[in-house]
Symmetry: C2
């Protein structure tokens, strides 16, 4: 069996070493622009160019490193080619960490305590009630479910929203555009975005949706920059309807140096670091899935290309 | 039944309103220095003066607001007087929040990302492995157990230490002074102190104990300032053995304005705010316990005065 590796932005050697150990029977190659590669059975990709796809007519499956397949699905892919997302590969716990840190930091006002320390000021603030800080999680896949459960562990009221109905223990769930979305937003004060990016969800966080959050709302975007209309967020921060935001993803990455988010006093910026793909976990998972496919067994994580995730 | 309220530092009115609603049959009074109060059956106290105790010969039980009874047990109390700690009263979840926020902030290096944002710098850091960040929780009562479980939820290896053997799901537990403590410390990199303050635990965090933590150790003290030898912590930070500390309690509170912790670049100071007593929860719990005592039933939270907690 032949496997080709085409991950722009990633040093291939450590991946090849890991794959060689996990799948000794495989014949591995690395794609290089302008160099012909033999047609492979499986590809491991991140942001591959169209030329790579065009030169690989025999692929049975494409494994996407990372949780979002939006960039991949914008390419022209042969009909019937299986696109596979990794189920988790260590990302869900990182997402839970990132989001819980941001929610607790906001709820407990640790940023204000940090400023007080800088002034040498000993002053405790009146505790706020967690019942007033319902957190709404958009997107209830592997990452969203783990985040929602982690927030429940701190006794926050948690709402969940997804395209289709879902049931999650201890979480009040809503679904569908229109009324379902509006009811979800008006029941939430802190919004966590973990949606896949599809034509339907592009620009979903704008004046109309964010304006429906409870007063003092807070936005945490850990999915894709294109979900959020950045000017609308800034306007709602400046009008006082939103209290702040923690943003890990942006319409343009790296975030341009002149962008107002960098210096906004109530915006926390991180450089798309909320959940990184962990190599060892990813390799183990890819090896398991390739073996299952070779045996003709079904695997989890196959993307519904029409749906977009 | 008569109840007297003696909480220095607390406005009594909201407590009296809540107690009146929860225990309408009770006759409530508030202690004032120099004014005689009728002998009561129950007292609700925080840091009461010796004079208060001396003027209350008929008390059946003393309810301590807050988790630590160290200050109370330094008073001269009549033999046989029941000292009762509140089981939780909303403090455990706050403690879990505070500690998880501090651990995640350190592990994920969010302080460095914050500094990078201030410089307008987009640069992600290599992810660190959580297997290298075993967290050791000292004290496995209501607060410590909740904190340990919350940390397990983020897949950190968690060690626990207590005076006597305890079993906690998913936590590697150690016990006893000497070898048990040493094994616990050398298995841990992040140390969370939630011990009661007793003659045995005073100064327990010093050069000898903190020096046994794994290199790059991190200290989170949310129990009592007198557990920690502050100069030893500073020396271990400056030698590079410890990477940092998050401290909520201090030998002198408020922390004196000239104390080096205020400005140390790797020390986070908060003003004894990790877990505040929540009034409504406390009142409900006190009412439940008083009713049980009146019916002659046993209650949880009675302090072993010889043991000190």
């Amino acid at each position: 069996m032949k496997i080709v590796f085409c991950c722009t932005d990633t040093r291939p050697e450590p991946w090849l070493d890991g794959l060689r150990a996990a799948l000794p029977e495989a014949d591995l190659s690395v794609w290089q622009a302008g160099v012909a590669t033999e047609p492979a059975d499986y590809a491991i990709v991140w942001a591959p160019p169209q030329a790579f796809i065009d030169a690989q007519p025999r692929l049975k499956a494409l494994f996407n490193i990372g949780a979002g397949v939006d960039a991949l699905l914008r390419l022209n892919l042969p009909d019937g080619l299986k696109v596979v997302r990794l189920d988790d590969a260590g990302m869900a716990v990182q997402m839970a960490e990132y989001v819980c840190h941001a929610v607790i930091r906001h709820f407990r006002e640790f940023d204000l305590y940090q400023q007080a320390q800088a002034r040498g000021e000993w002053a405790f603030r009146k505790p706020r009630h967690r019942e007033d800080f319902a957190v709404g999680v958009m997107g209830l896949g592997v990452l969203g479910s783990r985040v929602a459960q982690a927030l429940r562990g701190f006794d926050f009221p948690v709402n969940g929203w997804s395209r289709n109905p879902k049931v999650l223990d201890g979480v009040q769930t809503f679904h569908g555009m229109g009324e379902g979305l509006h009811a979800f937003l008006s029941a939430s004060r802190v919004l966590v975005n973990l949606l896949p990016l599809t034509p339907e969800t592009r620009d979903i966080l704008g004046r109309d949706t964010l304006g429906r959050l409870r007063p003092g709302g807070y936005v945490i975007n850990v999915a894709r920059g294109a979900h959020l209309v950045e000017e609308d967020l800034l306007a709602l921060l400046d009008s006082g309807h939103l209290a702040g935001a923690t943003l890990d993803v942006f319409r343009t990455e790296p975030l341009p140096t002149t962008h107002p988010f960098w210096t906004h006093p109530r915006v926390t910026v991180t450089p798309h670091t909320s959940a990184r793909t962990l190599r060892d976990e990813s390799i183990a998972q890819i090896a398991r899935k390739i073996r299952a496919l070779e045996r003709g067994e079904p695997i989890a994580g196959v993307v519904d290309r029409a749906r977009g995730y």
